[in-house]
């Protein structure tokens, strides 16, 4: 079997993986409605029933599912397309795409060459034994300063720099779940329009990240929208009045 022929039985779609891909690309099935986790589960079930792992099929599957995940995550975000491709008309975009694929192919070939080169070297081994200590002993008196100790201090400073340290001393390991953050977001959205900064004020990085996940989920469910005027600018959240099923199930 090839991964494309994996039979799926999902809420929104029944049939081969292959066809699902095509329908998604034709936008006849809304990717936002497809639970990709279920596709993965189907594949794992299939693997289990087969009792063996075909690496090539597994690789193909991972490539396909990763592409779907990327596409889906992009759809879930307010549309910020690849600027380069966006500025082009569809014909030019296809050319740009072709160029990228040719580039990828070029390096795949170079990779095959390197793999062969390494295989050809297989029979050669090098001696790794350290030379006897008496031959290595450096005459301390003969050595002079060549390095600046400031380099070490600067390196320490660099490692202290980023990102802003989290104070874990009183809180222990942060434990925060998407469910908690969903509840939190729903609660504050009931009060009206709110900024993301307010929604996560005082929270640590992990909580901010999980809150963003929760926000994606709300967006997917049609419960919330958000706007951001500039990259890294403030994000404004608003509840959506409409019922979740705005997008029809195919």
């Amino acid at each position: 079997m090839i991964a494309a022929q994996l039979e799926l039985d999902l809420e929104v779609f029944t049939g081969p993986f292959d066809l699902l891909l095509t329908l998604v690309l034709r936008e006849e099935v809304d990717l936002l409605e497809v639970e990709l986790a279920d596709v993965v589960v189907s594949y794992l079930d299939h693997l289990e029933s087969r009792g063996e792992l075909d690496l090539e099929v597994a690789t193909e599957f991972i490539v396909l599912i990763a592409a779907l995940l990327e596409l889906k995550s992009r759809l879930m975000l307010p549309s910020e397309h690849d600027e380069l491709l966006d500025d082009l008309d569809p014909g030019e975009a296809a050319e740009e795409l072709l160029a990228r694929m040719l580039d990828a192919r070029r390096y795949r070939r170079a990779a095959e060459y390197l793999t062969q080169l390494l295989a050809d070297e297989h029979g050669h081994r090098f001696r790794s034994a350290p030379p006897p200590a008496f031959l290595r002993r450096v005459e301390l008196d003969a050595s002079r300063q060549v390095y600046d100790a400031g380099q070490l201090g600067a390196a320490i400073g660099g490692m202290l720099r980023l990102p802003p340290p989290i104070d874990l001393q009183h809180v222990g390991v942060p434990r925060v779940t998407v469910a908690e953050r969903l509840t939190h977001l729903r609660a504050i959205l009931r009060r009206g329009i709110v900024s993301f900064d307010e929604a996560v004020s005082g929270a640590d990085r992990m909580t901010v990240a999980v809150t963003l996940f929760a926000l994606l989920e709300l967006y997917k469910q049609g419960e919330a929208t958000w706007t951001q005027d500039t990259p890294f600018g403030p994000i404004t959240l608003a509840a959506r009045e409409v019922a979740p099923a705005v997008r029809s199930v195919a």
Binding site: A67, L68, A94, L102, R105, R106, L117, D120, P130, P131
Partner: protein
């Protein structure tokens, strides 16, 4: 064997890394010409097939290595397994670093179409690539190491074939273009699908167009 060749032989035996000619000459306190004569003598003595060792020019220096005939016995004697071969992802990442160095991870990701973090991590761990400072945008830049040259049997990066050699041929490009044109169509409706109009029209039908085209290509299984 000349006394100088004997000394150079001992120096190479003691060094775990390839030794540049200048270092050998300085250690033996001879001129480069004399050193080269001694190396030529050693190259004869350690010619491939003659003995259990061969003299090789790698990573900008000279080194002794075992000959392939001894590989099976060496494997039996040394319990420690050899390092595993590269996975395809590692080989691709390494090829990109080798040809484009210094290059950042995001750039590698852009070329490969998938993230290379785990592959790059393994290559770093194995010492085949290392960090070469940071790009103006703060991304760590990567480059290959002398160990890469040594293990791949190269004297310098200049020994890598011109990367134009890997350029797809016009026929392949045409073929790829055609495959791209058919993306999303051939499989629609199963094997009996009718041939659809041209790809450009197809693309124009996508909304949002350009990005979906990009994704469509990712979704098209490529021949390996």
């Amino acid at each position: 064997m000349s006394p100088l060749a004997a000394i150079v032989e001992a120096l190479l035996f003691l060094s775990s890394e390839p030794v540049p000619e200048a270092d050998l000459a300085a250690a033996a306190e001879v001129e480069t010409d004399e050193l080269r004569a001694a190396l030529a003598e050693l190259e004869q003595a350690w010619a491939p097939g003659a003995r259990g060792l061969v003299l090789r020019r790698l990573a900008g220096g000279w080194t002794l290595a075992t000959s392939p005939e001894a590989e099976a016995a060496a494997r039996r004697l040394l319990a420690k397994p050899r390092t595993p071969p590269l996975t395809p992802a590692q080989a691709e990442t390494l090829a990109i670093v080798a040809y484009l160095q210094p290059v950042s991870r995001p750039e590698i990701t852009r070329i490969r179409g998938v993230a290379a973090d785990s592959a790059a991590g393994t290559l770093l761990e194995r010492g085949l690539i290392d960090e070469a400072g940071r790009s103006p945008f703060g991304a760590v830049l990567l480059r290959t190491t002398p160990l890469f040259l040594k293990l791949f049997g190269l004297d310098s990066l200049g020994d890598l074939p011109d990367h134009g050699q890997w350029d797809p041929t016009p026929e392949e490009e045409g073929d790829l273009r055609e495959r791209l044109t058919r993306a999303g169509e051939a499989r629609l409706g199963g094997p009996a699908a009718p041939v659809q109009p041209g790809f450009e029209d197809e693309v124009a039908g996508f909304e949002p167009a350009a990005q979906s085209v990009a994704d469509a290509a990712v979704l098209t299984p490529q021949p390996s």
